[in-house]
Symmetry: C2
Subunit: 411 residues, 2 copies
Amino acid sequence: MEGNVIVGQSGGPTSVINASLAGVFKTAKDRGAKNVYGMMHGIKGLIDGQYVRLEDKIRSDLDIDLLKRTPSSFLGSCRFKLPEIRENEDLYKKIFKRLTDLDVKYFFYIGGNDSMDTIKKLSDYGIFINSDIRFIGVPKTIDNDLAVTDHTPGYGSAAKFIASTMKEIIRDGLVYDYPTISIVEIMGRNAGWLTAAAALAKGEDCEGVDLIYLPEKTFDIDHFMERIHDLTSQNRSLVIALSEGIKVADGRYVFELADHVEMVDAFGHKLLSGSAKFLADKIAAEYGIRTRSIEFSTLQRCAAHMASRVDITEAFNVGGSAVKEAFGGETGKVIVLKRISDDPYMCITEACDVHKIANIEKKVPADWITDDDYVTQDMINYIHPLIQQELPPMMVDGLPRHLNLSRCPQD
Amino acid sequence: MEGNVIVGQSGGPTSVINASLAGVFKTAKDRGAKNVYGMMHGIKGLIDGQYVRLEDKIRSDLDIDLLKRTPSSFLGSCRFKLPEIRENEDLYKKIFKRLTDLDVKYFFYIGGNDSMDTIKKLSDYGIFINSDIRFIGVPKTIDNDLAVTDHTPGYGSAAKFIASTMKEIIRDGLVYDYPTISIVEIMGRNAGWLTAAAALAKGEDCEGVDLIYLPEKTFDIDHFMERIHDLTSQNRSLVIALSEGIKVADGRYVFELADHVEMVDAFGHKLLSGSAKFLADKIAAEYGIRTRSIEFSTLQRCAAHMASRVDITEAFNVGGSAVKEAFGGETGKVIVLKRISDDPYMCITEACDVHKIANIEKKVPADWITDDDYVTQDMINYIHPLIQQELPPMMVDGLPRHLNLSRCPQD
């Protein structure tokens, strides 16, 4: 195998982004890669000269299996979008110099939309300067909002956590003999994929959630309050799932209707949480019903202890496929998942031109959302195979064991 | 076995309150109980004549094992404190009439402080009227604030969830190469037992949380801001655990320092959440550091999928011991846990006079809290055995299976 491999992780972590790293590492080593380097903190770290030799950090099959079970980005992450080539060609020259110095011929980047944009720009620049370095993107995001791919690694595990925990919240929410309302706020700024996973809680042993609100559909507060009134007048307790991104007709987020609200968080992102609390307070004030709001918050993207094995396997496989494509000579591609069959569920990997996928946001189809504030069976059938099976944590001394880069042996 | 058995659940649910129910049911049946009734929605349901025959609902060993893994109160719950006997003796007469009509000789009540008060009053009244019905309390609470008992069933599982999830949040929180601060708010109005469990996250593979704040110690905001400044000036990212109940020197809760705050939730309880958010916003505003606040919320009391097997076993055993004591003629007792040894961990059950335990709140000892905003090794040694081992959920179709009273077969 001529040349070395480098791999980085970028964007918000997921429960299985390290399974993709394991897939890149193991497949590259199995196919004869000499050195596999890891960029620390993604492309930003590489620019600054921060990298490790992964053979020194991932030393055994046990380490690989721990890595698959470790949430968040083993190599660290960054939120850094490359400038256009014409705006700062020097930066591109610097990156390619780093790669050449390390004799890197294969470059893999695991991330979401911004990361695929990085692959697009680096592979474009590589073609422009006639470089022989191959650039392949490995998708991840709990949000499931990447185009072309049937779904995104990371989504299935987040969906499994949401559905599992929702079942527990429903059990907790229905214990009293008077109406109570639990409103659970779920991540997803513009796409309702994660919130829709709450529908999976319903089954033989569970009443399920009563109402589901996705950001793809305008949220009508009057209609919402009427439905609450109707349902609770039957003395029912309710559990409601809603996306943090729901908006009313004039385009405002629901939480923006509160009197006092900060609009920007400390990261400069528009603050999107608080809609559940706003609605819970409104119901309590107007109807005198006992309410509570729950935010799944960070847990939905890092609860590796409830990861889906289907998701972990697919995350590993897209990493492995990326290596195969690159070693086969491809560049400027992203590995996508193509569903061959729903029942039995079968999904294969394919390489897709990065220009077709970068910077496009995939939303829930309108016809998967029902008029009675729920989702269709098609939506449920789509998610159902993605949450199947488990890869339980290796429990050491009562807690899930992880692989931690800063605690790996030093040479 | 002369007479029947009745059992109820009360107060806020936990992950293992149903394991105690399983312990009462199975032990009573094994020892020849004819009928085991379940009060629905605790003593309040019994007063209204709501009960079920548990033999019709828990039909197999599989059901018993599912029950052990089902969070929340299988029989429903209530928040209902019996009046003093002299204030409403008619109510006591009504309860004893219900029990006599069902030929109940053994009454078990699983719950926290209010429930132990119920046992106290009913057993006192039983003695007063010379009844032969035995009343035994079975403790549960995630808050671990009951007196006499070494710890409370429910606490170990909540502590395991907190420590496990904290490890995942720490992995997620340390991915960037600039300082970020994650502040996690944990339940516990007056006692810091749950928050202290965050200390268990630290280990071979985990940096642990940096600071821990319990309600037993006055919270000094100036000191806190100084510590944040010192630690982050070393370019460190931090993860901080704090109790919802922390108060400043003048007695106000930290969240009460915010400009706008509702003081009472829809249940009429003083709203105790928001301190993490308040401090995160303050750090962001004053230091320009990227912060986020996370509330574990309801999950810490219902995440049965991460229950401690030690806790489940002990919850079952206190239920079983309650039956043995009652069948042996005891009344007016609460089953408590007595730790015989830390290493190896050994814990036995004992029967304690209910008058010694009801309405007393147990707090974290002051000498288990350090001056540098952490807890001592003694505190860690106390919790450590309680989170050990697992009883993983039975996964059906990708999700944890529960036993649901309203979905049990009808006769």
